[in-house]
């Protein structure tokens, strides 16, 4: 079947079109869907686009920021109020990919992609999803666990709390190639503190399981402690707990397990 492109002015209509047609894919920034079409993926015969302005809105007015699913990484980098997300945004692709790839699309990007989502997971983001039956917000963790079933849904936006300070959120992508490369491991840590003690740490890892996951043992190791060498070493020592990486062209499961603690320690201690 030839490919049909359907463009909607309203995301609700786009969502309906997606959920009613198994061969339909949402175009987003095009980096996933156009590649699939270029490579002869004949399972796609409808491409759905939405021009709804809501999809490209950025709201930074309050301590909770909302980013439309259609916002590109290039736009995030241009937004001074989103400085805490600049490191993850810059870690994606080259400049051209960043001008195309979107926050929403990144949620669906298969390994070794999806680095921005690691940051969102550490920031405990919520994902607004428009399905055939209406819109709802879900925690990003729940979204990722059910991602396979979300392919007929349309993500509208993500939202997260702004970290209290620049130091409270850290991000690092370990890649073989510089300055741009696929992820061997991607790490993000949100480290809220009160009275000098970590409270409610969230550490997220990319390329360490089928989807982005949290390093819960490492989070627990930091909880209630000052971010000193002892706490950092304790977290690093258990960084590999609960991970299930696989071999791929960028690194083996063995290697990822070996170095995840090293890189977590370096991230937490602020070392290169």
């Amino acid at each position: 079947m030839p490919v049909t492109v359907k463009t909607f002015a309203n995301f609700g209509e786009a969502a309906s079109a997606l959920s009613s047609d198994r061969s339909a894919r949402y175009l987003g920034g095009g980096t996933l869907v156009m590649r699939a079409l270029n490579e002869g993926d004949v399972s796609i015969s409808t491409v759905v686009r939405a021009n709804d302005l809501a999809l490209t809105r950025i709201d930074v007015a309050s301590s909770r920021v909302t980013i439309g699913a259609g916002v590109t990484f290039g736009r995030i980098l241009a937004e001074r109020d989103l400085a805490f997300l600049h490191a993850p945004a810059r870690s994606i692709g080259g400049p051209a990919v960043r001008n195309m790839g979107t926050v929403g699309g990144n949620l669906f990007a298969p390994s070794p992609y999806g680095d921005f989502t690691v940051a969102l997971l550490a920031l405990d983001a919520t994902v607004s999803v428009q399905g055939g039956l209406g819109a709802r917000d879900m925690p990003i963790e729940e979204f990722l666990q059910s991602r396979e079933r979300q392919s007929g849904a349309l993500v509208l936006a993500v939202a997260c709390q702004r970290p209290a300070s620049a130091d409270a959120f850290r991000y690092r992508k370990i890649a073989r190639i510089k300055p741009k490369g696929g992820s061997v491991i991607t790490l993000a840590a949100h480290l809220p503190s009160s009275g000098g003690r970590i409270s409610g740490a969230r550490i997220a890892l990319g390329s360490m399981a089928a989807t982005q996951i949290r390093a819960r043992a490492a989070e627990r190791a930091l909880e209630g402690r000052a971010l000193d060498d002892a706490a950092i070493n304790a977290a690093a020592a258990v960084a590999a707990e609960g991970v299930s990486p696989t071999d791929n062209a960028l690194g083996s499961a063995w290697y990822r397990r070996e170095i995840v603690g090293v890189h977590l320690r370096r991230l937490l201690s602020g070392l290169e």
Binding site: L37, E39, G40
Partner: protein, 525 residues
């Protein structure tokens, strides 16, 4: 930063030249920066069709049935090409120089021997329609066990990869399963040596990864011929290969190329031209066949893997007295050019050093992986890696500075090389001296004074007595075993006894291709 050291070898050069030696701008640079350099794909032909190839998902399988009925009826399909449509569906690239037997089909017929082997070609109005038709081709595979390791493939009873070579090795001189190098007596050398070091090296395959993938456009020309725009690295090589496979006179084709988006050896194999031309012949329309990036990476031929064993005997004073090498080139499922690389590798032994006793056995081995081909440094890159890592270990072992160790053993003018030709025009010592100077690597004065033009020849020009039959294994003498020593695997299988090569048989090609020359006693069948 590049510095011309005109002071060195100045007496051998006439530098009184006008154009030579100048950094003149490239003739093609303006075209490159304006985007007007014309690559094969920059030819826009009216009514052009697109060719896509269905590839095997199995590394080794029997093809029980290929059903293209539904695909033939798919919208936009102009023609489906199967193996039976290819006039001469068996070829080996170097048949053009009479080296090796035809062993590779353009489209697989009864068996596939590597993952990605082409089975059916689809010519359609658009790439999308070709892909849709491809999804409708039904192939009934009977998966077979596969072999991926060169030494596994040589074990007795190993499955046969390529029936043309039932022992899974290319055949040299009609009798040997490898190419030999025999110069002096390595066993005697090892017996005399203060240290013996045996090591194993492995290089995995490498993809050429040119930014332009392999491809070609073939179109009926106004005079009954076919014009072919191509990314080939070797215009007549590809032209004559197509003439043979399509069984037509070579002047049927007008090949145009010359501006290519990188090759590095990966555009010699003539992967796309025969099918693009056949598509044009069968449809009467221009046909474009360009590999996608994933196809190029996974199924475009790579630089083949090599496994290399080196055993060296070295004296305390740093002289290497014996070097024995056994190497396996992983050719993948078909020969392509690996057979040639083996001989080039043998010629390269033992590296740029004068060693009185050298013994080499190099094998071209078939496995169920993508056929390998030429790449920049063909036949030499992996061997140089092994040799130079080995040199570093030897220097460490005898406690000599590694730069001085190389200069000490470097070949010089007048020395005899292991392939029994006199070394001339050598310059390894000077390169080492200048590199050391650049890197501020300290060398002793006497080493700085050494020269490629001094102290060569004489006893270094001699060929030591060389046993015809391999000498029997001697009992281990008082050699130091070292921390590098690892138990080397025993030889996998003995070569057949030497036999004289049969007399050459005259042969004339029945196809239209030009026969360039004749190499070895091995002849195309």
């Amino acid at each position: 930063m590049l510095e011309l050291r005109k002071d060195i070898f100045a007496d051998e050069r006439d530098d009184n030249l006008k154009e030579i030696g100048k950094g003149t701008q490239r003739q093609d640079m303006l075209g490159h920066v304006t985007g007007t350099s014309t690559y094969f794909d920059d030819h826009k032909l009216q009514g052009m069709l697109h060719l896509k190839v269905l590839r095997s998902p199995h590394a080794h399988a029997r093809l029980r049935r290929i059903d293209t009925m539904e695909a033939e009826r798919s919208p936009g399909v102009r023609r489906i090409i199967r193996g039976a449509d290819v006039p001469r569906n068996l070829n080996t690239l170097l048949s053009l120089i009479n080296f090796g037997k035809d062993d590779e089909p353009s489209l697989a017929v009864d068996k596939v021997r590597y993952k990605g082997e082409p089975i059916v070609a689809i010519v359609a109005d658009s790439p999308r329609e070709a892909y849709e038709a491809m999804a409708k081709v039904r192939v009934d595979y009977e998966p077979l066990p596969a072999v991926f390791d060169v030494e596994e493939a040589l074990k007795p009873g190993a499955l046969v990869v390529n029936e043309t070579y039932p022992k899974n090795t290319f055949i040299y001189h009609d009798v040997y399963d490898h190419q030999k190098l025999r110069f002096g007596d390595v066993e005697r050398g090892f017996a005399e040596a203060d240290h013996v070091l045996e090591q194993r090296y492995q290089m995995s395959p490498i993809e050429h990864a040119p930014t332009e993938t392999n491809g070609s456009i073939a179109a009926p020309d106004t005079n009954g011929r076919y014009v072919v725009y191509t990314s080939t690295q070797a215009l007549f090589f590809s032209l004559d290969t197509c003439a043979k496979i399509l069984d037509v006179p070579s002047n049927t084709f007008h090949f145009i190329g010359g501006t290519v988006g990188g090759g590095f050896g990966g555009k010699v194999d003539t992967l796309t031209e025969p099918l693009a031309i056949l598509g044009a012949m069968l449809t009467g329309r221009p046909v474009r066949y360009q590999l996608g990036r994933e196809e190029e990476m996974q199924f475009g031929s790579p630089r083949g893997a090599e496994r290399i064993y080196i055993k060296d005997g070295v004296m305390r004073d740093g002289r290497i007295v014996a070097r024995k090498i056994r190497a396996y080139f992983d050719s993948g499922a078909y020969t392509r050019l690996s057979s040639y690389a083996v001989v080039k590798c043998v010629a390269h032994l033992p590296g740029p050093y004068t060693i009185p006793n050298v013994h080499g056995d190099v094998y071209c081995v078939f496995t169920n992986r993508t056929p390998a081909t030429a790449m920049r440094g063909f036949g030499v890159t992996a061997m140089d890696f092994a040799l130079e890592c080995q040199m570093d270990k030897l220097a460490h072992l005898v406690g000599i500075d590694p730069m001085e160790f190389r200069i000490l053993n470097a070949y010089r003018d007048g020395d005899m090389k292991a392939h029994r030709r006199e070394a001339k025009n050598t310059a390894l010592i000077e390169c080492a001296q200048v590199a050391a100077e650049k890197a501020k690597w300290p060398l002793r004065e006497e080493v700085k004074r050494m020269s490629s033009r001094k102290d060569g020849g004489g006893s270094r020009a001699a060929i030591s007595p060389t046993p015809i039959e391999p000498a029997p294994q001697r009992a281990a003498v008082s050699q130091q075993r070292t921390t590098y020593d690892r138990a080397p695997p025993a030889p996998i299988h003995e070569p057949p006894p030497p036999a004289p090569p049969p007399p050459p048989r005259p042969q004339s090609p029945s196809h239209g291709a030009t026969r360039f020359s004749s190499v070895f006693g091995t002849r195309r069948r």
